[in-house]
């Protein structure tokens, strides 16, 4: 019949001079420009780095389990500090969000791919290259100046071995990767949205990937310049950060944190976006205050460029400058608070469906609040004079980045895995993983607030048998292993479910956004027909349409559980 139709309405012939044979098997992954495959490559690679960074963390926790430990050499410990921080920031949280963004943004806006598919592939391979050169240093001398690589310690006068150079290389490669990715995201989001998807109808996750991209474009050049200056200081005789040559070590801190603080929000904003997508679906209720949530993301983006020196409160700096950075850091608490209140209001009077993504999202909310409050406490600069560089700060960043971003990433994994694989993750293993991670995380990091209060500095490879330090450190170590087991349960869950999970279908969660319109996993072209978008929840409209045409009440389609009987 197909052939008959073709013959019937003859059209001008399209001449194909030759079709390149499509690579299959593993080569198809090397040559792919499909945003979904690149997204999966990102997700897989970043999770490998996440496990590596986690093992490094566990080694440190083992070392700190008891006072005056001799398990690790001090140099090895400093290397682990550096590898762990660098891995988690540059090779896990930032690129895993790029992975989710890659996979989801075109689907959510009804596009068939990213604006520049080949550039997209280049982004991934540069990122992988950065990770590989960095980890290659394990076979030589890994860097040991911390993920912040403060000058002059990172200068070749003090660390002449090549670890720092591998670190610089990593910053450059992942930096270029992120810049290209960011340009790609902005071009895609600005130009390729489905018909009817005005700015006010764009999913919040897409909004946050957009501001994440702008922030990357604004912040990355500062660190790229800084590490280039460090490189020339180390090898070509310049003295940008060397006071004996007329430079200034504080310049490094300013340049690094001018990037470093926006980086924190680069790692947090898309996580906020994920939470803003997940909570409404599982509360069966629209996001409360869409405009406020989006506006606060934009406000955070702007303010995050103005708070960098709150990492430098104990440096010799004029009080008026310290006061400015305290007030700007306070200011950023307002839009962050708005988000938290809006999420709570989204849950309020919903009918909350208790599934694993919701558990992780609720876990995110409960712990991110702690990180936010301790952040405001740390912004009070006289108080920071006490807490700076103690375990209180370690606890704070982990409540923001792990309790915050990583729990959101896990919520996202459980939520979007059915779309990516076509199969559901096991609910039982998911809940077990959440429970272990939640308990383990709080066990590890809650007590670190107390350690900071008792004056334990961070980044020390051993500590004396003083006060409560041994007991609190032991609790923290036990918690870290519980947390590790929790992560492992999810890994097992993914491996099992990829093969034998229940079939998901197109829209297993009765969700709101366009990615659920297509098949799971989506075909290479994503959509045969891109529906016209009429609201911020296009899938809700589509389900209602389908139900109306089928002559049934909308609720019976979108809400399989509700019956009319009350």
């Amino acid at each position: 019949m197909e052939a008959a139709t073709l013959v019937a309405d003859a059209r001008p012939e399209i001449v194909v001079r030759g079709i390149r044979e499509r690579p299959t098997g593993w080569t198809s992954w090397l040559t792919t420009t499909d945003h979904k495959r690149i997204g999966l490559l990102y997700l897989f690679t970043t999770f490998v780095f996440f496990i590596l960074g986690g093992v490094e963390a566990l080694l440190m926790r083992l070392q700190l389990a008891q006072p005056n430990s001799t398990l690790l050499e001090p140099k090895t410990y400093n290397e682990l500090v550096t590898m762990h921080g660098t891995t988690m920031v540059f090779l896990f949280v930032v690129p895993v969000l790029a992975g989710f963004g890659n996979y989801l943004v075109p689907l959510m806006i009804g596009a068939r791919d990213m604006a520049f598919p080949r550039l997209n592939a280049l982004s991934y391979w540069l990122f992988l290259g950065g990770g590989l050169v960095f980890y290659a240093s394990v076979f030589f001398t890994p860097p040991s100046a911390g993920w912040t690589s403060y000058a002059p310690l990172s200068d070749n006068a003090f660390l002449p071995d090549n670890g720092i150079d591998a670190w610089i290389f990593l910053i450059h490669l992942t930096g270029i990767s992120s810049l290209l990715g960011a340009i790609n995201f902005t071009a895609t989001i600005h130009n390729m949205r489905a018909r009817g998807m005005s700015w006010g109808r764009m999913p919040v996750f897409v909004w946050t990937i957009l501001v994440y991209s702008y922030l990357l474009i604004l912040a990355l050049p500062a660190v790229a310049a800084a590490v280039t200056m460090l490189l020339t200081d180390r090898h070509f005789g310049t003295a940008f950060f060397d006071n004996t040559g007329g430079g200034d070590p504080l310049l490094w801190q300013h340049l690094f944190w001018f990037f470093g603080h926006p980086e924190v929000y680069i790692m947090a904003l898309p996580a906020f976006g994920m939470i803003s997508e997940i909570l409404p679906v599982f509360a069966r209720k629209p996001l409360f205050g869409y405009k406020a949530v989006v506006a606060s993301a934009a406000a955070i983006t702007f303010l995050s460029m103005l708070v960098w020196a709150h990492h430098m409160f104990p440096t010799p700096t004029a009080t008026v400058v310290l006061a400015f950075f305290m007030l700007s850091s306070f200011a950023i608490a307002v839009p962050t608070g708005i988000k938290i209140f809006n999420w709570l209001a989204t849950l309020w009077r919903g009918t909350i469906v208790m599934k694993t993504p919701l558990f992780f999202a609720a876990g995110f909310l409960s712990m991110f609040v702690i990180g936010g409050i301790s952040g405001v406490v740390l912004a009070i600069f006289p108080v920071d004079w006490y807490f700076n560089d103690t375990y209180f700060v370690v606890a704070h960043i982990h409540y923001v980045l792990f309790g915050g971003s990583v729990f959101a990433i896990f919520a996202g994994l459980y939520y979007w895995f059915p779309k990516m694989s076509g199969r559901m993750l096991s609910e039982g293993l998911g809940r077990l993983s959440f429970l272990l991670m939640f308990v383990g995380f709080n066990l590890t990091f809650l007590v670190q607030h107390s350690l900071g209060l008792e004056g334990m500095p961070r980044r020390i490879y051993r500590y004396p048998d003083y006060s409560n330090w041994p007991a609190l450190n032991l609790i923290s170590t036990v918690g870290a292993f519980v947390l590790g087991v929790g992560v492992l349960v999810t890994v097992v869950n993914v491996l099992i479910s990829m093969r034998s999970g229940t079939r998901a279908g197109n829209d297993p969660w009765q969700a709101n956004t366009l990615e659920w319109f297509t098949q799971s996993p989506p075909p290479e072209n994503n959509f045969d027909v891109v529906p016209r978008v009429r609201s911020v929840e296009p899938m809700k409209d589509i389900r209602r349409d389908v139900a109306r045409r089928a002559g049934r009440a909308a609720e019976t389609v979108s809400q399989p559980v509700t019956t009319g009987a009350t």
């Binding site: 003090f158 205050g289 406020a292 009077r349 006289p382 920071d384 004079w385 980044r459 559980v561 019956t563």
Partner: protein, 276 residues
């Protein structure tokens, strides 16, 4: 996991007791003020924490999906409510800023020395003990230099004789001590928790802090900025002694240094290296 929970339950009360009443009081007033400021911030933060977690847990329990329950109202927002919590959040941080500025003077401005504190005179001639930065009183200035991996203290107030020490900093009680802090290699951070906040020691910069200890005692601390392999072992002690004892220490230390320098130059003369 049960073991871990049990551990937490055993250790938590002690940990939380410290959390709210830190034991790092009683050294110097600036440290005490920082603690007070922290406790105020924690009380405000604690109220917000309790509120948010309370609403979250209540929602998760109360608004669970139940079979046969009604479809939730599709509420998309509430402008007065949202304006309300935006203003509320801004007011809270504004209050926090006001409280901070109220405490700031007490933390950054050195106190006067007590009348019983060390004064000029006595065995060694201690000059320039009065500093412009300390209102009305006299004080003792000590120069702190961070080096991988120890702290050096110079007492420039002692005239005509070099007095310095490492690791242990001797100070007289009741006397305001001002520190001028720098580093001669990488960045370090000076911190004795009971004696106030941190001051980073950055090469090429001079940082400053102060303390006044009222009771004799030993106050410990360690470097708080990753400075290399020996970072964890870069410890420091401040030993507060009565003024008379401090004077005696100065004399002894000055004599010891003079003696050591004489021996050193003698040794060099013997080896024909000349004076340093």
């Amino acid at each position: 996991m049960l073991g871990a929970l049990a551990l937490l339950l055993i250790a938590a009360p002690s940990a939380f007791a410290d959390f709210f009443t830190p034991e790092n009081k009683g050294g110097s007033r600036n440290a005490d003020d920082i603690q007070t400021l922290f406790v105020i911030a924690m009380i405000i933060g604690g109220v917000i924490f309790a509120g948010v977690e309370g609403v979250l847990v209540y929602s998760l329990i109360r608004f669970r999906r139940r079979r046969g329950g009604p479809e939730p109202a599709q509420i998309r927002g509430n402008t007065p409510l949202e304006m309300g919590w935006t203003v509320g959040a801004a007011v809270i941080v504004a209050i926090l800023a006001v409280i901070t500025f109220a405490f700031l003077g007490g933390i950054t401005t050195p106190e006067r020395s007590l009348p019983s504190g060390a004064t000029a005179g006595n065995a060694l001639q201690v000059a320039s003990i009065d500093q412009a930065s300390v209102p009305g009183g006299h004080s003792l200035e000590i120069h702190v230099n961070g080096q991988q991996y120890l702290w050096r203290y110079d007492y420039p107030a002692v005239r005509g004789q070099q007095v310095f020490g490492y690791y242990d900093m001797y100070v007289p009680v009741g006397t305001t001590v001002t520190l001028k802090i720098t580093s001669s290699d990488v960045a370090h951070s000076w911190w004795i928790p009971k004696l106030g906040g941190k001051a980073d020691a950055i090469p090429g910069h001079t940082n400053s802090t102060w303390f006044r200890i009222n009771r004799p005692g030993i106050y410990t601390g360690e470097c708080a900025e990753l400075c290399g392999e020996g970072h964890a072992d870069m410890r420091a002690r401040v030993i507060a002694v009565p003024p008379a004892q401090f004077q005696a220490w100065l004399v002894r230390q000055a004599a010891d240094i003079k003696d050591a320098q004489a021996k050193l130059s003698l040794a060099r003369q013997i080896r024909g290296e000349g004076n340093p």
